[in-house]
Assembly symmetry: C2
Homo-oligomer: 269 residues x 2
């Protein structure tokens, strides 16, 4: 009940991080107030906080960010209807955001990787209109919004940064809208794989080999497709040689071809 929790193992972090950092371990969980982990030395900060802040400003930011223990797979950060009090940054692991339709079905609205920020949907009416849960063991930073607002009035670049974050979320949503309304199953899946690949690159991970943290069902749900279709497209891509698929382990053999497909410039019948 209540919120999910406020499990922030470390400090700030945001839109696509730098490095996967140590995976959430017990050691991290022990971190406390005086720990070495802070925005100032977080390796995700270059992505999460790409703004020039005075070190005193970073300290102020550090002060408001909450820590906590790691989330286990399936645990919620917040649920639809919870009062809104904070936005969150992924430090490690992966989360998904989703909402429920009136008839109770789930709609996945996004996947969040280390360095990315989520939970901004709740600002509008002071309560979350979606839920967020961990797809695997994850660690997050909680950024209380009220205090962030206060801080923003004193640090204009921080305010601008948050406007940018929200604007990016809007842009992403609109890209998904275009996908859903115009593109075929193959195009959507190619685009998602490329998106994950790009986000890995920014975290300095491999762009061509990675493990999908989400299930086929989640992928289908996110892209407006059924599990069966997702599975079939994966098989087709593999058969064509552009993709290696071994369960959740993905190898992109032919990024160029994948890009062609995603943009509809594919010539291969």
């Amino acid at each position: 009940m209540q919120y999910g929790l406020r499990y922030a193992i470390a400090k700030f972090a945001h839109q696509v991080p730098n490095m996967s950092i140590v995976t959430t371990s017990k050691d991290d969980a022990r971190c406390h107030h005086d720990q070495q982990i802070s925005c100032a030395n977080c390796r995700l900060a270059t992505i999460c906080l790409p703004i020039a802040l005075e070190s005193t400003d970073i300290e102020r930011l550090d002060d408001i960010i909450q820590r906590g223990r790691p989330l286990h797979k399936g645990e919620h950060v917040f649920r639809n209807g919870d009062p809104f009090s904070a936005v969150y940054a992924v430090r490690s692991g992966t989360l998904k955001a989703y909402s429920l339709t009136d008839d109770g079905r789930e709609q996945v609205t996004g996947f969040y990787f280390p360095g990315e920020i989520f939970g901004m949907d709740g600002i509008g009416n002071n309560q979350h209109v979606s839920s967020a849960k961990a797809l695997e063991t994850s660690a997050i930073c909680e950024i209380p919004f009220e205090r962030l607002g206060d801080l923003s009035t004193r640090i204009p670049s921080l305010q601008r940064h948050f406007f940018q974050l929200m604007s990016q979320e809007i842009t992403q949503d609109q890209q998904l809208i275009t996908q859903l309304s115009k593109n075929s199953a193959e195009q959507r899946i190619a685009a998602l794989l490329l998106s994950i690949s790009a986000r890995n690159t920014r975290r300095q991970l491999s762009a061509t080999r990675f493990r999908l943290p989400m299930s086929r069902t989640d992928i289908g749900n996110y892209l407006g497709l059924t599990v069966e279709t997702v599975s079939r497209v994966f098989s087709r891509f593999q058969k064509l040689g552009m993709l290696g698929v071994d369960g959740k382990e993905i190898t992109i053999n032919d990024p160029a071809q994948l890009r062609k497909i995603s943009t509809g410039q594919d010539t291969t019948g």
Copy 2:
């Protein structure tokens, strides 16, 4: 070239207005700096600016908002790629936002009615990632973002208001995503009609009789459907008696039934 224009006939305005106000007339167009139209006396302000501001604060806001002449049907406010410098509020008329896919097709991402704010997509990377054009003769208010940011640091409630606006845009986009990925043509169209009806209500216009400002093509594009499907659904709804359709003039005869359809609770075969 350049921006579209910066045609703001009046002052502020935002998320769904209060009243349709005088339609854009030559008289409005003559309004100048010292004119009676300001945020303080704009009838849309209760919707556009639902925050308590000191009158001195309203004056400051007034000072930064640009005026201009009305836009004609088809004119752009901004285009994809234009540098971002302002957000806009609809004062009268209707506009659509859209982007182009890589292969040049249009994707309508939203319709904007009097009192609603648009153009926030550009904040993220300082340039617009969509275009906005007038569907009919319209008047808008331009709110230079840089100065708005400065002002927000001095008026915290204004900052919060803009965070809320952007959050609402995110929520709306996510609702559309759900529509596109889960709902049938009939459900999507029923939902759009109800949305327009609700927005009319907030402007104190009729909830059951109105003129659609956009073409069937735009509706289809927005909802991820073809013109033909839109037309067929309209005909079907009319045949079933729940809707009166006369070109762009719409009469909702059975809102309850429409609501049932939009939420998938329809029983009628």
